[in-house]
C-alpha cells in the first residue's frame, strides 16, 4: 500500500498525517509545536514545488492511486490538477500562518491540539485531491471529526452546544452525500467509485434530480447556503481562533469545491432544472446575511455573516454556469481564504488584548496601534472588493457571469456588496477610529511576528489583485471540463 512516496499527492497526504500522529506522542509542548510547524511548512514547500511540475509531461508526478478495497472497486486515488493545486496551496499557506500567530499561546494538552490540527490538514488535502468517491467521503469526514474535538475542547463558553450543532448539521449533510455516492456506485456499470467513471455515466433526469439534492444538501450545509447556515455564526464565535480560521478560510471551500468537482459535472440535467431557483435562494441568503451583519455588535459574528454573503456570491457564480464566473469563483476561493484569515487574526489580536469583541465597547485603536489598523483596513478593503485588491477581480468576474445569466438577480446580489461596504466601514469607524475608550487605553501595537504574518497576507492580497493571470491559466482546464458537460445538452 505504501509503495509510492515520490509524487506530490502522496506527500501532501502523508506529511500532515505523519506530523499529526507524531505530535500526539510528544510530551513537551515545544516539541509538539515544532513538529506541527515543520510538517506544515514542508507541506507548503511541496505544494510550491509542485507548481514547477504542473505541465502535462509530468502527469505521473501529479497523480497517485493505492490499492485499497479492490473488491469494492475503491482505491486511494488522488490527483493534483489546476483547481486542486490552488486549494492545496491555500490550505498549505494558512496552516503555517495559524501556527505562527499561535506560537506564544498556551494550550493545555497541546500535543493533542496540534495533532488534531494536522489531521484536519490531512483531511482537507484529501478532500481536495480525491478522485475516488469513497476516498472523498472518508476525507470529508476526517476533516470534520478533528475540528469537532478542537472546538469542543478548546473553544469558548458555549462551545459544547455550538460545536455540536455544527457537527450534527454537517454529519447529516455527509450522510446524504454518502447515499448519493452509494447510489451512483450501484448504478455505475464499471462497478467502481472512480470519478472519471462517474463522469461518463448517463443517468436519467429523475435520477439526477434525486442525486442532485443528496449531494447539494451536503455541500450547501458546508458552505453554508441560506437557510442551512444557522450553525455557522455560533460555531465561528465559539471555536478557538486558530480553528475558526481554518473553518472559514479553508473548510467552507470544501462545499464550493464539491460543487465544481462533483455536483456540476455529474448532474447537468438537474443543475439546468434547478439553477434559477438555487441562485435566487442564494441571493436572498446573501442579502439577508448582509442585513444581519449590519446589526451585529460582535466583530466575530460580523465576520461570520459577511462570510456567508461572500461565499453565497461564489456559489451563485458557480450555478450561473458561465465560464468567466466560474474562473472568478476559483480565484475568489483562494482570495477569500486569505482575506478572512487576515480579518480573524486582527479580531483575535483585539480580543486578546482587551478581552472584548463588542464593537460598541471598542474605539480609537488606530491611535494606539497604527500598524494593526493599516493591515486591518487593507484586509477589510480587500474583503469588500476594492479595485487593486484581490477580491475585486474575482467578484467582478462573478458579477460579469451572473449578469449574463440574469441582470435582475445580479442587481439584487450587488445590493449585498453595497451592504458589505456599509457594515465593514461602520465597524472600522467604531473600532479603529473615534474616541479612545477605557478598554483600549492600554492597547499596544502588534509585535514582529504578527507584522510578518500580516505582510505575507497583504502581499498575497496585492499580488493576486494586480497579476492573477497565472491562476487563470491553471483553472481554465477544470472549468472547461465542467462546462463541456453543458455544451452538449
Amino acid at each position: 500500500m505504501f509503495s509510492a512516496f515520490d509524487n506530490f499527492p502522496a506527500l501532501l497526504i502523508w506529511l500532515p498525517l505523519a506530523g499529526g500522529i507524531l505530535s500526539f506522542f510528544m510530551k513537551k509542548e515545544v516539541a509538539a509545536k515544532m513538529i506541527a510547524m515543520i510538517s506544515s511548512v514542508s507541506t507548503l514547500v511541496v505544494v510550491t514545488l509542485s507548481f514547477i511540475y504542473s505541465n502535462q509531461e509530468f502527469m505521473m508526478l501529479n497523480q497517485v492511486s493505492y490499492r485499497w478495497l479492490p473488491e469494492l472497486g475503491s482505491s486511494f486515488a488522488f490527483v493534483l490538477d489546476g483547481l486542486t493545486r490552488i486549494l492545496c496551496m491555500l490550505t498549505a499557506i494558512i496552516f503555517p500562518l495559524v501556527f505562527t500567530i499561535t506560537k506564544k499561546d498556551q494550550y493545555k494538552n497541546s500535543n493533542v491540539f496540534f495533532g488534531l490540527m494536522m489531521l484536519t490538514q490531512c483531511g482537507l488535502m484529501g478532500v481536495f485531491m480525491a478522485t475516488d468517491a469513497l476516498t472523498f467521503y472518508f476525507f470529508w469526514e476526517l476533516a470534520l471529526i478533528p475540528v469537532y474535538f478542537l472546538s469542543s475542547i478548546w473553544g469558548g463558553e458555549k462551545r459544547i452546544k455550538a460545536t455540536f450543532k455544527f457537527f450534527i448539521y454537517t454529519f447529516v449533510g455527509s450522510l446524504f452525500l454518502l447515499i448519493g455516492i452509494l447510489y451512483m456506485y450501484v448504478k455505475n456499470p464499471t462497478g467502481t467509485f472512480n470519478l472519471a467513471d462517474f463522469y461518463n455515466m448517463t443517468l436519467s433526469s429523475p435520477e439526477q434530480m434525486i442525486l442532485f439534492f443528496l449531494f447539494f444538501v451536503a455541500f450547501a450545509i458546508k458552505m453554508p447556503i441560506f437557510p442551512l447556515h444557522t450553525w455557522q455564526p455560533d460555531a465561528y464565535d465559539q471555536a478557538p481562533t486558530p480553528v475558526t480560521m481554518i473553518l472559514s478560510g479553508v473548510m467552507v471551500k470544501m462545499g464550493l469545491f464539491g460543487v465544481i468537482r462533483w455536483l456540476l459535472p455529474l448532474f447537468p440535467l438537474a443543475v439546468k432544472e434547478f439553477q434559477t431557483g438555487i441562485i435566487i435562494l442564494i441571493v436572498v441568503g446573501m442579502v439577508y446575511a448582509s442585513l444581519v451583519a449590519i446589526y451585529q455588535d460582535s466583530i466575530k459574528k460580523l465576520i461570520a455573516y459577511s462570510s456567508i454573503a461572500h461565499i453565497g456570491l461564489m456559489a451563485a457564480g458557480l450555478f450561473s454556469l458561465k465560464d468567466v464566473a466560474m474562473q472568478g469563483v476559483v480565484l475568489q476561493m483562494f482570495n477569500h481564504g486569505i482575506n478572512i484569515v487576515a480579518l480573524w487574526i486582527a479580531a483575535e489580536l483585539i480580543e486578546r488584548q482587551t478581552g472584548i469583541t463588542k464593537i460598541s465597547q471598542l474605539g480609537g485603536i488606530a491611535q494606539k496601534a497604527p500598524m494593526l489598523s493599516v493591515f486591518f483596513v487593507i484586509a477589510a478593503m480587500a474583503n469588500i472588493a476594492l479595485p487593486l485588491t484581490n477580491a475585486f477581480i474575482g467578484e467582478f468576474m462573478i458579477f460579469n457571469g451572473l449578469y449574463q445569466f440574469n441582470p435582475w438577480i445580479t442587481a439584487a446580489a450587488g445590493l449585498s456588496i453595497i451592504l458589505s461596504a456599509v457594515y465593514t466601514l461602520n465597524m472600522i469607524k467604531h473600532v479603529f477610529y473615534g474616541e479612545i475608550v477605557p478598554s483600549t487605553e492600554n492597547f499596544q501595537d502588534i509585535g514582529k511576528t504578527h507584522v510578518l504574518v500580516f505582510c505575507v497576507l497583504t502581499l498575497l492580497i496585492f499580488v493576486a489583485g494586480i497579476y492573477p493571470t497565472p491562476i487563470f491559466k491553471m483553472i481554465h482546464e477544470t472549468t472547461g471540463i465542467v462546462l463541456n458537460k453543458y455544451s452538449m445538452l
Binding site: L69, Y137, E141, I160, V172, I179, L182, V186
Partner: protein, 458 residues
C-alpha cells in the same frame, strides 16, 4: 460441529471446576482456555477439518457463512471473557456455574449457525434462551434482576410458542421440517404458509427486539446485571439475527417479494422508535439498550435486502456492533452509577480507557475509519441495490444522525465536561491493554473490512 460438542463438554467441565479449585480466578482461566480451544476448533472446522463425524441426517449443514459466523461469535466471546471475566468472577461465589451457562449458550449458537431443519432452529434457540433466563436473574438479592428474569422468561416463552406454532403451520403445508423443502413453493404462498411465515417473523422479531416487539428489551437489559446485559445485547442478539437471516434466506428466499415489504416496515419502525427513545434516556445502560434496538433496525435492513452485500454487511455488523458494545459495557460494569453525568471528566482521569471507549462510541455511531461505518455502509448498499427503496435509506440515515446525538452525549461527558468521576475505579493494566487492542481491531476493520470479509467466500 466441533464447536457444538466442545462447548457442551466444556460447559459440563466448567461446573466441576467450582468444586475442584477454591481459587476465585480459576474458573475464568479455565473458561478462557476453553474458548481459545473452541476458537481453534472452529477455525479447523472452517478449513475443513472436523473432529466429530455425526450423522445428523442433513439437519445441520454448515456453509462458510455459518462457520465464519460461529468463529466470529467465539472470538467475540473471547473478548468478552477477557474484558469482563474479572466482573463475572467477582459476581458470585460460584462463578463457575455462570461460565457453564455461557458455554451452553454457545452450544445453542453453534447449532443455530448450521441449522437446516426447523427443529434444529427451535432447539438452538431454546438452548440459547434457557441459560439466559438464569443469567438475567443471577443477582438473586436484587428485585430488578428477578423482575428482568421473569419478564424475559415470559416473553421468551411466548415468542417460542409463536415460533412452534409457525413451524407447525409450515410443516402442515410442506410436509417437511427441512428448510429446502419449504423453499420449493412455486408461484405464490399458500395461506397456510403465509400464516406460518408471519408467526415465525413475529417470533424472530421478538428475539431480536424489533419494534413493535421490543417492549421487553429495555426493562430486561436494565434489570439484568451489567456483565450479562453485555453478553445478551451483543452475542446473543447477533445469533438471533443470524437465525433470522438464515431462516428467511433458505426457507423463504424465493418469496422475497412477498415478505420484504413487511420487514422493511419493521426496520423503519425499529430505526425511528429505537433512536428517538434512546435520545431521552439519562442512564447509559438504558440508553445502550435502546441503542441496541436502534442497531437492530440497521441489521434488519440486511434481512430486508437479503443479497450478497447484506450477507457481508451482517458479518461486519456483528463484529463492529459486538466489539464496540462489549467495550462500553465492560467499562460500565465497573460503575455503580450508570447516569451519563457519572462519566464527566472520565477521559482526563483515565486517558487510555477513555480513548478506547471513544473509538467504541464512534464505531456505534458509524463514523468513518471505524468498523461501524463499513457495517452501515454495506447495509445501505444492500438496500440501494434492491432499488426503489430510497425512502428506507433516507429513514436509516436520518436515524443514524439522531443516534449521533445520544452517543455523542457520552463523548461530551467524557471529554468536554468538567468534573471528576466520583467513583474510584481501578482499571488494571491488562484491562487497559485489552480495551486498546479491541479499539485497534475496530479501527483496522474500519480501514480494511475486506480482511474479515474475504473469509466469506460465498
Amino acid at each position: 460441529m466441533n464447536a457444538i460438542i466442545l462447548s457442551a463438554i466444556w460447559g459440563v467441565l466448567m461446573m466441576y471446576t467450582g468444586f475442584i479449585s477454591k481459587n476465585k480466578n480459576t474458573p475464568t482461566y479455565v473458561a478462557i482456555a476453553g474458548i481459545l480451544l473452541m476458537l481453534v476448533a472452529s477455525w479447523l472446522d472452517y478449513i475443513g477439518i472436523s473432529f466429530f463425524d455425526v450423522d445428523t441426517k442433513g439437519m445441520l449443514k454448515y456453509n462458510s457463512f455459518g462457520l465464519l459466523f460461529n468463529m466470529l461469535i467465539i472470538a467475540c466471546t473471547l473478548v468478552y471473557f477477557l474484558l469482563s471475566g474479572s466482573e463475572i468472577a467477582k459476581f458470585e461465589k460460584n462463578s463457575a456455574d455462570l461460565y457453564a451457562l455461557i458455554f451452553f449458550v454457545l452450544t445453542g449458537i453453534s447449532i443455530v449457525a448450521g441449522f437446516n431443519s426447523l427443529l434444529m432452529l427451535f432447539l438452538g434457540i431454546e438452548i440459547i434462551s434457557i441459560p439466559l433466563y438464569i443469567l438475567a436473574g443471577s443477582e438473586k438479592s436484587n428485585l430488578k434482576s428477578n423482575e428482568a428474569a421473569l419478564k424475559y422468561f415470559l416473553m421468551g416463552a411466548f415468542s417460542t410458542g409463536l415460533m412452534l406454532m409457525g413451524i407447525a403451520f409450515l410443516y402442515g403445508d410442506a410436509g417437511t421440517f427441512y428448510v429446502e423443502g419449504i423453499n420449493f413453493g412455486l408461484g405464490g404462498m399458500s395461506p397456510m404458509m403465509s400464516i406460518g411465515m408471519i408467526l415465525l417473523l413475529a417470533s424472530m422479531s421478538f428475539k431480536v427486539s424489533a419494534v413493535p416487539f421490543h417492549f421487553w428489551t429495555p426493562d430486561v437489559y436494565d434489570g439484568t446485571p451489567t456483565v450479562f446485559t453485555s453478553f445478551m445485547a451483543t452475542i446473543v442478539k447477533s445469533a438471533g439475527f443470524f437465525a433470522f437471516f438464515k431462516l428467511f434466506e433458505n426457507a423463504f428466499g424465493k418469496m422475497h417479494a412477498d415478505w420484504s415489504i413487511l420487514v422493511s416496515v419493521l426496520a423503519a419502525l425499529t430505526l425511528v422508535i429505537g433512536n428517538i427513545t434512546a435520545v431521552f434516556q439519562q442512564s447509559i445502560k438504558r440508553m445502550l439498550s435502546y441503542s441496541s434496538i436502534a442497531q437492530a433496525g440497521f441489521m434488519l435492513l440486511g434481512v430486508f435486502a437479503m443479497n450478497y452485500y447484506a450477507k457481508q454487511g451482517l458479518i461486519l455488523y456483528f463484529a463492529a456492533y459486538t466489539l464496540a458494545t462489549l467495550g462500553i459495557f465492560a467499562v460500565l460494569a465497573k460503575f455503580k452509577d450508570h447516569s451519563i453525568e457519572a462519566f464527566n471528566g472520565f477521559a482526563k482521569k483515565y486517558p487510555m480507557v477513555g480513548l478506547a471507549m471513544l473509538i467504541c462510541i464512534l464505531s456505534l455511531a458509524g463514523i468513518p475509519l471505524t468498523a461501524g461505518f463499513f457495517a452501515k455502509y454495506y447495509m445501505l448498499l444492500g438496500v440501494i441495490k434492491i432499488g426503489n427503496m430510497l425512502w428506507l435509506v433516507i429513514i436509516a440515515i436520518l436515524s443514524a444522525a439522531v443516534s449521533v446525538y445520544y452517543y455523542f452525549r457520552v463523548i461530551q461527558a467524557m471529554y468536554f465536561k468538567e468534573g471528576m468521576p466520583h467513583e474510584e475505579i481501578k482499571f488494571t493494566q491488562s484491562f487497559e491493554v485489552i480495551m486498546l487492542v479491541n479499539a485497534a481491531i475496530i479501527i483496522l476493520l474500519g480501514i480494511h473490512p475486506d480482511w474479515l470479509l474475504m473469509l466469506l467466500n460465498i
